[in-house]
């Protein structure tokens, strides 16, 4: 049991992530649940993280993510943009750019040497370039979202999907399938579409190496590869890209204790 414990809880639109660290920033408990804000997801993620850490309370808590404002038990609410930057910088000190693609939004963050945000850009209401886009694509292609990457690996380039609008893209996919394109090729085209959207967004703040990708979409190998191809930058992916916001929040929680 750690002497002092700090928790970061990242309550996203489609998942909840809890990370508990000790005074040395070592992770003592961590849990991710695919239930987001407004569900029992946050409470379950916290319970599991507590269980893993072998504790029943923490000294400080910082909430982040879409549902951060509603999580009243936190000592402080900090945006996921700041938290992803902080978490990444702790693990990859050379990181200058963070690409965070979550369930319903995408951000490109330029990071200062001290882990604070230098500049950032995020998508607007549009779902293109986010996890939601992948959900729509997987539904249209009739496969699970976790199968999309494997499917795209077998695809051949050449199918272009609109990078502007998820609704239009859905129509385009149906049209491509109707005209005989394979679902593998279409899946690859959809991943390329996300990458083009993200790299376009990144143009507003610039991409500098090292580039680290976080968020749930970073679990998709094909999207990461597509972002590398389109941007021309090597992408570093962490072991747990989804938990990076919660980890950064836990680091901020530790700061509150100092």
């Amino acid at each position: 049991m750690p002497e002092r414990a700090y928790m970061g809880i990242d309550i996203g639109s489609s998942s909840s992530k809890a990370v508990i660290i000790d005074r040395d920033a070592a992770i003592r408990g961590e849990h991710i649940i695919n239930l987001g804000t407004g569900s029992r997801g946050p409470a379950d993620a916290i319970a599991k993280a507590f269980e893993q850490a072998g504790i029943t309370k923490v000294d400080r808590t910082v909430a982040t993510g879409y549902g951060r404002i509603l999580f009243k038990e936190a000592d402080k609410q900090i945006t996921e943009i700041s938290c992803h930057a902080r978490g990444v910088k702790q693990l990859v000190p050379t990181a200058e750019t963070v690409v965070d693609i979550g369930g319903q939004d995408a951000k490109v963050i330029r990071v200062k040497p001290d882990g604070r945000v230098e500049n950032f850009v995020m998508n607007d209401k549009c779902a293109a370039g986010t996890g939601r886009f992948l959900e729509v694509m997987s539904r249209v292609l009739g496969v699970g979202i976790d199968q999309l990457s494997e499917l795209a690996d077998k695809g051949k380039p050449g199918v272009n999907i609109s990078s502007t609008c998820t609704v239009f893209a859905e129509s385009e996919v149906i049209s491509q399938l109707s005209s005989g394109s394979s679902i593998e090729d279409v899946a690859l085209g959809a991943h390329r579409s996300i990458a083009e959207r993200i790299v376009g967004l990144a143009g507003r703040v610039g991409i500098e190496d090292d580039v680290v990708m976080t968020g749930g979409v970073a679990l998709n190998d094909s999207v990461v590869q597509a972002v590398e191809d389109v941007s021309g930058h090597k992408i570093t992916r962490l072991k747990d890209p989804q938990g990076m916001g919660a980890f950064g929040a836990a680091l901020y929680a530790r700061d509150l204790d100092n």
Partner: protein, 377 residues
């Protein structure tokens, strides 16, 4: 603070209920009302005719009747105005002056002539070269045409004296608001960004003669008050763009620890930051005022001063950053943004660019951006 709150609440009630406020103003003054589209309509001419100029800056109205005339990418103020016109909200107006600063406004002039002909549309075309003698000659003739057209529609008339008096009153109104926003900057945090906005906006819906004393009294109270301890230490910022709406947007500013100490909004300071010089007759003064008005996306400025003006405003008011609120999909503002951004970068002035619509159900993504801006400051 009670006196301040009472005065703000009175102005806020006027601002938040434009229809009722205008109906009341018509009743109180006995004047006919004339709608004035954004931005720089010749309100002084309307006033000189013994009419009541009323601002038409959209609103929360939603619907789909306007899509018969305007595409989805048209700006939300124009869509809301059209929606309200089609719904009969503007039937109390005797005429409507529509400017032609952007493509959407140009379409509105023709659309409304067909869609709501009873509203008596009076278009006005501003000169591209507003500083040249030929531009000024043209503009004076255009102002006279608008005055004559309005006089005929409303069966009213003006004199040189009534126009001069109207220009004097509007200059007084502009000086009063200049002083008000200065007082707010002197006491950062005392009133919220939303309250500041509603005080300014209320002026669009009542007679300026009645509005000016209210704002003067409020300004005096602000100067005499102390900022409560729990309102101190907020991040002072300048906001730029067309409008500071919806209300929720400015509430997010406050929740994220920002206080507005200056603005470059088309609906707010751009309306009153330039005073008419005392040259010639009333028309000449109006012409010269527009010639002097710089730093606006809708008025051609070959020296592209807007960015520098915002940087200077930030320095004068002690602002730590600027929030540029891009109203979707206002292309004159979008054309300005790269030039403005360049000036911010050169001055190392922190800034945040957000895109909003006047009617937004969810502000969560904007909230995240604004909160992050506070965190990085």
């Amino acid at each position: 603070m009670n006196g301040i709150n009472d005065k703000i609440n009175e102005l806020k009630a006027i601002s938040q209920n434009p229809g009722q406020s205008v109906a009341q103003a018509i009743k109180d003054t006995g004047k006919k009302a004339v709608g004035c589209f954004p931005i720089y309509t010749p309100d002084e001419v309307v006033y000189a005719l013994g009419l009541l100029p009323v601002g038409m800056w959209g609103g929360p109205s939603k619907g789909n009747k306007s899509s018969k005339y305007l595409q989805t990418f048209c700006c939300s103020i124009m869509k809301a105005n059209t929606e309200q016109a089609l719904g009969g909200d503007y039937d109390m107006l005797s005429a409507v002056i529509v400017t032609s600063f952007c493509d959407t406004l140009k379409c509105i002039i023709e659309d409304w002539k067909i869609a709501v002909p009873h509203l008596n549309i009076v278009p006005i075309v501003y000169p591209q070269n507003r500083k040249s003698n030929s531009g000024k000659t043209y503009f004076k003739a255009e102002l006279k045409r608008v005055a004559d057209e309005l006089a005929e529609i409303t069966d009213t008339s003006y004199t040189d004296e009534s126009l001069a008096a109207a220009v004097d009153l509007y200059d007084e109104y502009r000086r009063t608001l200049q002083d008000f926003v200065k007082s707010v900057a002197e006491k950062p945090g005392l009133i919220t960004p939303l309250e500041r906005h509603h005080v300014v906006k209320a002026g669009y819906f009542i007679d300026k003669k009645d509005y000016v004393p209210k704002v003067k009294a409020l300004t005096e109270d602000i100067r005499a008050a102390e900022v409560p301890s729990d309102r101190q230490g907020l991040n002072p910022i300048v906001i730029s763009g067309i409008i500071g709406e919806p209300d929720g947007l400015l509430e997010v500013f406050d929740e994220c620890g920002f206080t507005v100490v200056g603005d470059d909004l088309a609906q707010e300071s751009r309306q009153f930051r330039t005073i008419a010089p005392n040259v010639g007759d009333g028309f000449d003064r109006m012409v010269e005022r527009i010639a002097m008005q710089d730093g606006c996306a809708f008025l051609y400025d070959e020296e592209k001063r807007r960015g520098r003006m915002i940087v200077d405003l930030a320095k004068e008011t002690g602002a730590v950053g600027v929030i540029f609120n891009q109203l979707k999909f206002c292309d004159p503002e979008e054309f300005d943004w790269p030039l403005v951004k360049k000036e911010f970068n050169a001055a190392e002035l922190p800034y945040l660019y957000i895109e909003t619509e006047q009617q937004m159900d969810s502000l969560e993504q904007v909230r995240t951006s604004i909160q992050t801006f506070g965190e990085l400051l």
